[in-house]
Symmetry: C2
Subunit: 213 residues, 2 copies
DNA sequence: ATCTTTTTAGCACGAACGTGCTTGAACCGT
DNA sequence: ACGGTTCAAGCACGTTCGTGCTAAAAAGAT
């Protein structure tokens, strides 16, 4: 069956992306519970029916938005990890690249802050809402994979002991999420400088680990 | 003016506490956004009007619930810290007491899990809702105080360098909150055992810090 | 028994929500 | 010019929410 009549071509994917970014802005400024169809439509400069034309339901819009932010974050991490891999271990550029990688988790600028807000909001919402479960699991796997590879590269022993390696990966992951949380919830206390200090302190403890134990 | 007619005595504080615990159960199982007056009243076995008799508004109910959970957590921390202080530094009982203290943050049993859920939900909601701001700030101060004192006692140098001390306090705080988050959001991955491993690993890095740097 | 106050319960209103459905408007191949 | 398809917009219904308000039930002091 051929498409005989090619109708009005409005780049549908671009429109969807605009709506998604309206969702992001609303979540960042007013929280996930305010991301209703009416609010999103207003923010995107559209009518409710128009948004519903691109997203069958509210759930689909939210799940897709979650997936988009996860892809964005995972993409940044992969990109930054490639830089880390390309540099020689122990060099100052390497250390800087590692800090840059870890900084992708934190709300250090406007764009990162929005993503961090949205990411946190969705992950917490996924605890309750089954529709978000799959994307949340994918998010966790993607981030854990990058952090795991990073720890494997950074640990002195090369990660001989498997158990120790996952513990250190979980430890770095927890510190990152905790830092992100505090930076979002207590921005006065948790400034970018404090974040950097905490991260460098953590990295010191990672490289200078007691080999035995 | 004397109270001539002392009417029906129902200890109001106990009733309020019952309502608050209904709020906790709802937040833990269905999330904060489901903690409406009608849901809370149902959960507490009361009518909406009855709940509204003890709490003037929905906001007051939520703010009070937040304050109660903060007090509960802060109380547990103070109690556990007193035990830590009473033991000799470096002893095995001391180490165990420190782990017990830090475990108060994590959802290691039913009661702790409910509190952790509620605490997280309110703290994140406080980013948006101004009514929760004050209690959130109090919560942060109380917890940071205990963790700060703990770090001061645990660090080898006795915390000579002020700057290093606050960095380590923030680092421990971040790790704790991150662990709590992961234990709530990915309970399959982040088991109690992994939590314990991560915490002991962190404590090792805290005691075995390079003195200079 | 009566009176006063607390306690409990319920109604009604406006606002916001998701969603099924309908109605024009825009657009392109014929 | 026309017809088929997509896009944009809006209405209407049922649900849930907070809240102001009213009113019945409960209980101790008189």
């Amino acid at each position: 069956m051929l498409k005989r009549f090619v109708p009005k071509i409005v780049d549908a994917e671009a429109r969807r992306q605009e709506v998604v970014e309206a969702v992001f802005r609303i979540i960042a400024s007013d929280g996930l519970e305010r991301a209703s169809l009416r609010e999103v439509a207003d923010e995107a400069g559209l009518a409710v029916g128009s948004v519903r034309h691109y997203f069958a339901s509210s759930d689909e819009l939210l799940v897709h938005s979650f997936a988009v932010v996860v892809d964005r974050i995972a993409g940044r991490l992969e990109e930054a990890f490639a830089v880390v891999e390309s540099l020689e271990t122990g060099s100052t550029e390497h250390d800087a690249a590692v800090l840059t990688l870890l900084g992708q988790f934190l709300p250090l600028d406007e764009e990162l802050a929005v993503d961090a807000c949205v990411w946190m909001a969705f992950r917490h919402a996924a605890r309750i809402r089954p529709v978000l479960e799959q994307v949340a699991a994918r998010s966790h796997r993607a981030v854990a994979a990058v952090v795991g590879r990073l720890v494997m590269q950074l640990m002195p022993d090369g990660g001989s002991v498997q158990e120790r390696l996952v513990t250190e990966a979980e430890r770095l992951l927890a510190t990152l999420d905790g830092l992100c949380m505090h930076a979002l919830l207590q921005p006065e206390w948790m400034t970018a400088e404090v974040c950097r200090d905490v991260l460098t302190a953590h990295l010191d403890t990672l490289v200078a680990l007691p080999s035995n134990r």
